[in-house]
């Protein structure tokens, strides 16, 4: 599934990062690479952007950017 489809509290493993050059590289360089575990901390009050926790830090991404990232859900959130 896509990262943008995950709900608050969900956890997943990154499978693939798609998208164009600069954006994709930027996402990768912030540590969202294949095999990284990401946790959906929350969505902003206006439902966009998303706040993620990965590699022990907090990162925010827009929903449309998260839609470039394919993940495998590893844990269902409670929220």
């Amino acid at each position: 599934m896509l990262l943008s489809e995950m709900k608050q509290g969900d956890k997943g493993i990154v499978i693939r990062v798609a998208g164009n050059g600069a954006l994709r590289r930027r996402i990768l360089e912030m540590g969202i690479v294949k095999g990284t575990e990401v946790f959906v901390e929350k969505y902003a009050p206006l439902k966009d952007p998303i706040e993620l926790i990965l590699k022990g830090y907090h990162l925010s991404l827009r929903v449309e950017e998260a839609a470039q990232i394919t993940v495998e859900k590893s844990r269902q959130g409670t929220g």
């Binding site: 360089e29 690479v33 952007p49 590699k55 022990g56 830090y57 827009r62 950017e65």
Partner: protein
């Protein structure tokens, strides 16, 4: 040691790694803030003497990598490559080791002498993360020093280690760099061999590093490489292209993507060895704060409250020192009035210089407090949350949530705000933000509102001023949308932003921040405003020999004589009343004379010349002149109004208000004037900054014309619309 040696130490690190704190601790107040050559990123340097060495500390911009996407990254990389600092201290946030190591591995690849400062390990430990520094040092062959920036711990140790590293010969240690996978490594060695065979002498970068960058298709390195190596280089570039195509087919990915993966793989290996995390999902302090501050329901109300509180603090708390400064300026001008003999020079000194600069320097407390608040928002980490909350809205205008930060600073002063657009990665975003930031009502416009709204809307002044700020915001949003769909079409920049942990800010760093920015205001004061005040004064003081419509001195004499006669004839009880009447009559004549003098001065003539343009806005010639002078700096609008309404001496605080009320200005025309001041062209300093930051004469001219046209149209609608609705 007698002969002093200068060692250049560059500080590198991720944003929010505590780099600035460490830099401030090392250099204290001995820092020089300037620009990196050619670009507009702030460069901080400090020169200190320690352990028998002169240490030149250069603070590189905070970056997550050295891939040249943003200006910051280009600047940081170029400094490391071209200036070859003796040592690079990579400041690593211990609670963020994995991500920090990405930049670290890139620094290692460049082959410069790197030293790790493992910062804030105490915080990491309390979060359940333990780092084996010795192992880390061994694995990467890099010395590691523990530091706690905000407690100033480990700094001396760090510098000693840096000096020691600078003094050792570079070949001493075998480098332990990222090993890429077999196919990539093969490609790297092929290119590296070619470089060493054919063009070794022509390039000054390390051959492995150059090979890696060429394979990554790094535009900047490719260009420089081609520029230096000519035909032989062309061959190598051709070979690289073939290798890249091969790798693309092999991995179904571009080489640089595979290499990024490999670097993180390498880092993951190191992390496994050196880091132990006990708590699996940390419930930390910062997350709990965020549960409230970015909460779905109360996040926005709190955000608005913070902004409101910031402005309250700025303007209510600031009012006290404002009073003190005002009295101080009055004292100076009284003192100068007593010791300087009557002359043109005296007029220049008191009315021009002291009056003009004095009327502006009173806003220093406001500006200091405002910048303090902004520094507080930045240093605590709330600024990133503001961007997080606002991104959706900013995205509607076609902007990045980060654009909110310069726009917010625009409320303080447009000059640093325009400078702050440098944090935006996309050129279009930067230009767009620069174009709409001037609609954020800067603090220099506030005095104008205070005087006009305070005079004409007394009890409702606060609401009127608040509405003005709101109007500015609305217009900037509309303009943003307009530009995004016309002049600056294109894909929005990605919103990939770290939300750093909340931190208790350090007073020292807040002070330095505040001072750096306020200094700009003071510099403006010494330069532009001083010159502006003198010009305004001169234009209103000359020509000296005016032909008055009435012979005022003759009229005054006559009034005097007639009253003298009346007083002589009157009884004792009437004498006092008559004396008062005489004084009133003479003051009336004097005021009329002053008003005529201003009217016939150069200033008055210019004002009258352009006043037809402002007439539909309900602004008279005095207003027109003030607006004109506001080009130097918005604060001058008030001092010009003061001169034009010839308020008698600075000792009468409410004189200007009285004069304004009796001048025929109405609440509606005052509102129209405030709207115009809110929107019209940015001040000279801001315009110069726009020119500098956009590096384009066209955008600068566009900004001037656009803002002024919008100002005229909106003020026209306010005044004429208000008249139609029956307001006055």
């Amino acid at each position: 040691m007698t002969d002093k040696k200068t060692i250049t130490i560059a500080l590198a690190g991720n944003p929010n790694s505590g780099k600035t704190t460490i830099f401030n601790n090392i250099t204290g107040t001995r820092q020089k803030v300037g620009n990196w050559p050619g670009v507009t990123v702030e460069k901080k340097e400090g020169l200190i003497r320690k352990f028998g060495y002169d240490l030149k500390i250069v603070d590189l911009p905070g970056t997550y990598s050295l891939t040249p996407f943003s200006i910051e990254e280009i600047v940081a990389r170029d400094f490391v490559l071209e200036e070859s600092p003796d040592v690079i201290i990579d400041i690593i946030d211990a609670s963020n080791l994995e991500r920090s190591l990405y930049l670290a591995t890139q620094l290692r690849e460049i082959d410069s002498k790197v030293l790790f400062a493992l910062n804030m390990a105490d915080v990491a430990r309390s979060n359940g993360t333990k780092i084996d520094a010795e192992m880390l040092s061994d694995l990467l062959a890099v010395p590691v020093v523990f530091t706690v920036g905000n407690k100033n711990e480990g700094i001396d140790n760090l510098l000693q280690e840096a000096i020691r590293l600078a003094e050792t010969s570079p070949e001493e240690k075998e480098k332990r760099n990222v090993k890429y996978n077999k196919d990539i490594e093969n490609a790297i060695s092929k290119i590296q061999n070619l470089i060493e065979e054919k063009v070794k002498e022509k390039i000054n970068y390390k051959s492995r590093w150059t090979a890696i960058k060429l394979l990554e298709d790094d535009k900047i390195v490719k260009e420089r490489f081609a520029g230096k190596t000519g035909v032989a280089g062309e061959e190598i570039l051709e070979e690289t292209r073939t290798l890249r195509t091969y790798l693309l087919n092999h991995f179904d990915e571009d080489a640089e993507i595979v290499m990024t993966d490999d670097r993180f793989g390498f880092i993951a290996g190191i992390i496994k060895e050196v880091q132990t995390t006990t708590a699996r999902e940390r419930i930390d302090f910062s997350r709990n704060i965020d549960l409230v501050l970015t909460n779905r329901f109360i996040g926005f109300p709190i955000f608005i409250f913070f902004i409101w509180a910031m402005f309250q603090l700025t303007f209510t708390l600031g009012a006290y020192p404002m009073d003190w400064i005002e009295s101080g300026v009055n004292l100076i001008s009284l003192f100068a009035g007593n010791i300087v003999p009557e002359s043109l020079l005296k007029d220049l000194l008191i009315d021009g210089i002291i009056g003009g600069v004095g009327s502006v320097i009173v806003f220093l407390p406001n500006i200091l407090i405002l910048f303090f608040c902004i520094a507080l928002l930045e240093d605590t980490g709330y600024m990133a949350r503001a961007a997080f909350l606002m991104d959706k809205i900013m995205h509607l205008i076609g902007l990045h949530g980060k654009s909110f930060i310069p726009m917010l600073m625009g409320f303080g002063c447009n000059v640093p705000a325009i400078m702050a657009t440098r944090t935006l990665e996309s050129e279009k975003d930067r230009i767009l933000t620069i174009l709409i930031t001037p609609f954020m009502s800067c603090s220099a416009k506030l005095p104008v509102y205070i005087v006009l709204a305070g005079t004409f809307f007394t009890a409702k002044a606060g609401n009127v001023i608040f509405s003005l700020y709101l109007l500015g915001i609305v217009l900037s949003i509309l303009s943003g949308r307009l530009f995004r769909s016309t002049l600056l079409k294109g894909v929005d920049a990605p919103f990939v932003m770290e939300l750093p942990p909340y931190r208790v800010p350090m007073l020292k760093s807040l002070m330095i921040h505040m001072w750096d920015r306020s200094k700009m205001f003071l510099k403006k004061m010494g330069g532009v405003i001083l010159v502006g005040s003198v010009i305004v004064w001169a234009l209103s003081a000359f020509p000296k020999n005016i032909e008055y419509s009435v012979d005022y001195s003759f009229a005054m004499n006559r009034v005097n004589e007639s009253f003298n006669m009346k007083i002589a004839a009157a009884g004792d009880e009437d004498k006092d009343a008559l004396k008062k009447e005489r004084i009133a009559a003479i003051i009336g004549l004097q005021k009329a004379m002053n008003a005529e003098k201003t009217e016939k001065s150069y200033m008055g003539r210019i004002g009258k010349g352009i006043s037809p343009v402002f007439e539909p806005l309900g602004i008279d010639w005095r207003g027109s002149v003030s607006l004109l002078t506001g080009f130097f700096a918005k604060e001058i609008v008030v001092s010009t109004l003061g001169v034009l309404y010839s308020t008698e001496g600075p000792d009468d605080k409410d004189a200007l208000k009285k004069a304004l009320r009796s001048s025929g200005m109405t609440p509606l025309s005052a509102l129209s004037m405030m709207v115009f001041v809110l929107l019209y062209l940015p001040c000279l300093a801001a315009i110069l900054m726009i020119k500098k930051e956009t590096a384009s004469f066209k955008w600068t001219a566009f900004s001037i014309i656009y803002t002024t046209s919008v100002a005229w149209i909106v003020a026209f609608c306010v005044f004429q619309g208000g008249k139609l609705l029956g307001f006055s």
